[in-house]
Structure formats: structure tokens, C-alpha cells
Symmetry: C2
Subunit: 332 residues, 2 copies
């Protein structure tokens, strides 16, 4: 079984962005969204996801709103709240069209400087009413601007984390847009936020303080596997527990697009903590002219690793996802 | 021959930081520094560098001020200017104590929002009067704060770049401190800035616009080798020239501390563009308990790569540095 653990609805019908466009033009007066999207339109937009799943043998996909679109830096909490609601409602409709194949992960109404506890109502709604299995957490709420967001390991986040544990919902640490002109959304910002969030999980006490909290660092952990000994040296120099002991509590996904990088993720981060993901459709949707295959078709990078057992591959492709997403239930 | 292309004077005598402490306490009234450091004190501080060079067979080291200490976000241009001067003067004295073994790379008086052309006087002074061979360029002048620094590929930088070309001086793209509480200086900020600067070199026209400009992305290119196909896909999707053609014009150093990461840098970035560096003494100075050897002793990671020819190793260990640092002249 294969579970795509990290996919975004990047090609939602235009009515979604049209609402957002009007919302941003009237930031001072946010109003709830009412999208006019028919089931036929929605189904047509989802078709490429479903066809890809069929073609690659993917049983289930955890689908979340477009990450760049979350744009938590705009407006206030009401802005983010209404925007999260329309996105999550649309994901819920998508899931309802493909029960057992699509599962929802929530966008949260994060807003710069606003207590993460203010995300709990929407987390409750999406999990308990809409049946979502996970959520996205943006570690850099103002997109590199100010107010700065406290470290992802700071107790500022704990009320949200505690509710996630109660609900048995893991969090995918995923940045949204950036206001810094020296950063490129897909080319540097996302993976930089991965790297910094990962390091904060090592450098702080959060994983001890919140037992049961499951956080996933996407895109292979940013640069973490590549800078493994750099990180080990820093932890040693600070007298902190060795990296290896912390890794048991942190999850990663495989959204990297090189065979050797994939192997590096699996070897260094461990087969028990890595979830298959290729993050369709986005950064890596283009066809590699060297192979004629889209960059994001990486399942063979996992099954082709010679030192992985069949059991290891099964964990990476689905078992680990089923373990840390307990609400994701697949009839077998 | 081995050239350490990236080392910082991280253990300078306390008089240096004492001046800086007083300077920051009186930001409104910056005054030039006059350090009282004897040759004996300076020599004692340099001793560990020289002993390490002798022990590892390193012929020459390009020494620059402590990167975290540059702190360009503090004060105004005068603050950065006086602070760069005392640092560079101290490096010049260090070089004079070990002629032919140490070579200087300059800290520049960058300051948030200030035209990089304002760095040219200090660049001229350090190169033409003090005999320096290179300089550090901080791509994120306000350390993640505001005003944001334009992309390293933005024409804003061109006057400085043009003068670097005239002087035959390359630039090591190296961040300094950060004001963002979610970033860790050595654990994420430096390598994140590497990754974002590298991507900007691909995404902009700077390398075409300034022929002869040589920029070095340290720490193995941040996360670039690990995210190679992610980057390739983005360039393809944008209709930009393929990554491989851009790589011919960008340099990297080997300041990574894993054998497999080192091989990944060399394989993907190419043996003609990578300069040996272990960045003593800093992040990786600690001893790896698994090997009993400091993390930053990585020369064997290069000489041990089976597919490298002797000529390749020579390029990486010294030839490439001698080529792009033409002012670094070693008697042989």
C-alpha cells in the first residue's frame, strides 16, 4: 500500500482565489466566504490527482490546501480564520467525492503575533466535524516579516500542540509565502523553514514537554540530512542529547527528488520516521529531460534502495503514515 | 598543496570584543577603534590555527573575521565601518605574523539599507593597502530583520561586484548574526542564507551581467546539492537555463562534515568549482565520539573519494582556490 502523505490542492477552481483576492482588497472588513463551485468543477480539478494515484498505485492521499496560498501574513486573525474555513470546507468536499482515497489536512487560522490557541476551534471543527486527519503548521507566520514567530519549540505553541495530542492529529510543519525579497518561495523559503524548524526541535524541550506530539518536517527535513554532522557537532558542543536520540521523536517526509538524497534521508533519519510524499502538484511536477519522467515520481527511489527490506519499504510507503495519522483509516 | 579557503578568527583576543561591546553601548556616537593587543597576545591566539595547519599539512589559510561578530544589523554605516576597520586591521597583523601561510579576507562595512557601493573604500583599503585576497559578503545585512536586503542577484549589489572584478577579488557569501528568534545562528541561519543566495544566483541575471564575478557559496552550498532536482525542476518550469549551465559560474566550499555529503557536493557541483574548507574553528570543532576525530577534519573525505583523480583532488584542495583567488600567491 502507498499513501501520499503530503499533497496540496494547488489547482482548486478559480472561485477560491477569487474570494481571496476580494478578501485581501478589503482587509479591514473580512467576511466569510461562500464559494460557488459545483461538484463537477471540483471533480474535474481533482481528476489529475486521482489519475496520478491510479497510475502510480497510490491508495490514499492526504490533501491539504495550497501551502503558498495560506498567506498567514495578511490581515488579522479573522482574515486567516475565514480563509482557512473556505479552504478546509473545499478540502472536505473533495474528500467526500473520493471517500477512502482522499483524506483532509487542515489549514489553520494562524496570524502574526496571535496566540496559536486561537487555532484550536478550527482544528476541532476540521477534525471532529469534517473528519480531517492532520493539519499544517506554519512555523513562520509572518512569512519572514515581523512580528517574528517564536521558535517552533517555544512554549508559545503548547496549547495548540496539546490539543493536537488530545485529538491524535500530527502536524506537518509547512511554511507559506514570504515577504522577504531575497527568498524564493519554492526555491529556498520552504526548505529553509524546514531546516530551521527541525533544528529548533532539537534545541528546545518541546518533544519532552509534550509527549505524544507528532511533527513532520517535510521535504526530507530541509537540509538536515545533508548537514547531519554539523548538527551533531552543535548539539555535542552545547551538551545537549545526541541527535540520534531526538530523531526517534521527529518525522520527515520524502519530498526530495534525487535518488541519492532520498537514500540519504532514509539512511540518516531512519526508516521508522520517514513518510512517503512527493508533494503533487507543485515544485517537482515538471518532466526531467534526462529521464522523461516527472521529478515527483519517486516511488522507485524508495523501492530501489538495495539495503531496505520489504518491511522497511512498507513502513515508508504507508505503515509510518498509518501509525502517526491514526485517524486515517483505510479498509483493507 | 592544501589551502583552507574559509577560516574565521573566532578566538581573537578579548580586546576586540571589548571595543565592540563599548561601541554597541554607544551606538549614536561611533568612534574608530584602537585595540591594545600585543604581538605576543595575537600570536598566542593564532597558535591553534598554525598548529592545526601544521598537523593537517595545510599550506595556507584564508582568514577572515568572526562571521557572527560582523553584526551588520547594529547601528549605521559608521558603526559597521569602524568595526570592519578594527577587524580587518587585526587580520592584517595576523597575516603579517605568518606571511605566506595566512591570507586575509575582509569584513565589509555593510549596513541595513545602505548602498553596497559604500563598501568599496574598505574593499580598496584591505586589498590594495593591506594585501587581502578576498572578502565576505553578507547576503542578509539586517540578519533577517528589516529593511530586507535585496536578493544577492539584484542590481543593487552591482557597484560592489564591479569593483571586486576590477580588483580580482572573489566574495564568500556568508551571513552574520540573526535577529529572528526562530533561527539558530550555526544550526540554521548560515546554511539557510547559503541556500537562498545560491538560488538567487540561478534565478537572476547577475552572473551574465557581471562577467568575471566570482562568488562562493559556503557550507557545501547550504542545502543545494541535496535539493538538486528540486532546483532543476523549478528552473525548467520557469524556462530558465538549466542548472548545469549556471553551475559553471558558481563556486562552493566543502564546509560540510559528513563523508556522504562531501561526495554529494563534489559529484553534483563539480570538481572544478569546489574549494576545500572546513571553517576552523567553529561549528564543527567538536570531537565526533564515534570516530574520536574532530568533525572539521575532513581532508580524508576528499582524498578518499574513489572516483576522484589525483588531479581532481589537487583542484579541490588548492588549485581551484589559487585560480579564483588570484591575489593569493604562494611560493612553491
Amino acid at each position: 500500500m502507498i499513501i501520499e502523505s503530503h499533497a496540496h490542492f494547488t489547482n482548486a477552481p478559480a472561485a477560491l482565489d477569487a474570494y481571496r483576492g476580494r478578501q485581501i482588497q478589503n482587509l479591514a472588513r473580512p467576511v466569510p466566504g461562500k464559494l460557488t463551485i459545483s461538484d463537477e468543477q471540483l471533480s474535474a480539478a481533482l481528476d489529475k490527482h486521482i489519475r496520478r494515484m491510479d497510475r502510480l498505485g497510490i491508495t490514499a492521499t492526504i490533501l491539504s490546501p495550497r501551502a503558498s496560498g495560506m498567506g498567514h501574513e495578511f490581515g488579522d486573525w479573522r482574515t486567516s480564520s475565514y480563509w482557512a474555513q473556505v479552504n478546509n470546507d473545499l478540502i472536505a468536499r473533495a474528500v467526500a467525492l473520493h471517500p477512502g482515497r482522499l483524506f483532509g489536512a487542515a489549514q489553520l487560522p494562524q496570524s502574526p503575533g496571535v496566540d496559536p490557541a486561537m487555532c484550536i476551534d478550527e482544528l476541532n471543527r476540521t477534525v471532529l466535524e469534517l473528519g480531517f486527519v492532520g493539519c499544517l503548521i506554519n512555523p513562520d507566520v509572518a512569512g519572514g516579516g515581523q512580528p517574528f514567530t517564536p521558535s517552533i519549540g517555544d512554549p508559545w505553541w503548547y496549547p495548540l500542540y496539546e490539543r493536537m495530542v488530545e485529538l491524535s492529529v500530527p502536524g506537518l510543519l509547512h511554511a507559506s509565502s514570504t515577504v522577504n525579497p531575497a527568498l524564493h518561495l519554492n526555491g529556498s523559503h520552504y526548505t529553509n523553514v524546514d531546516s530551521s524548524a527541525f533544528f529548533e526541535l532539537l534545541w528546545t524541550d518541546v518533544l519532552n514537554d509534550i509527549p505524544g506530539l507528532n511533527l513532520i518536517v517535510p521535504h526530507g527535513g530541509g537540509g538536515a540530512p545533508f548537514h547531519f554532522n554539523r548538527i551533531r557537532s552543535l548539539l555535542l558542543g552545547a551538551g545537549l542529547p545526541p541527535l540520534e536520540t531526538k530523531l526517534e521523536r521527529i518525522y520527515f517526509d520524502t519530498a526530495v527528488y534525487d535518488r541519492d538524497s532520498m537514500e540519504m534521508v532514509l539512511r540518516k533519519m531512519g526508516v521508522d520516521n520517514v513518510l512517503y510524499a512527493a508533494e503533487p502538484f507543485g515544485t517537482a511536477k515538471n518532466v526531467d529531460p534526462d529521464t522523461g519522467v516527472p521529478f515527483d515520481e519517486t516511488i522507485g527511489f524508495i523501492t530501489g534502495v538495495p539495503w531496505l527490506t520489504a518491511e522497511d519499504s512498507e513502513k515508508i510507503l504507508s505503515g509510518n503514515a498509518r501509525r502517526i495519522y491514526p485517524r486515517l483509516r483505510i479498509e483493507t
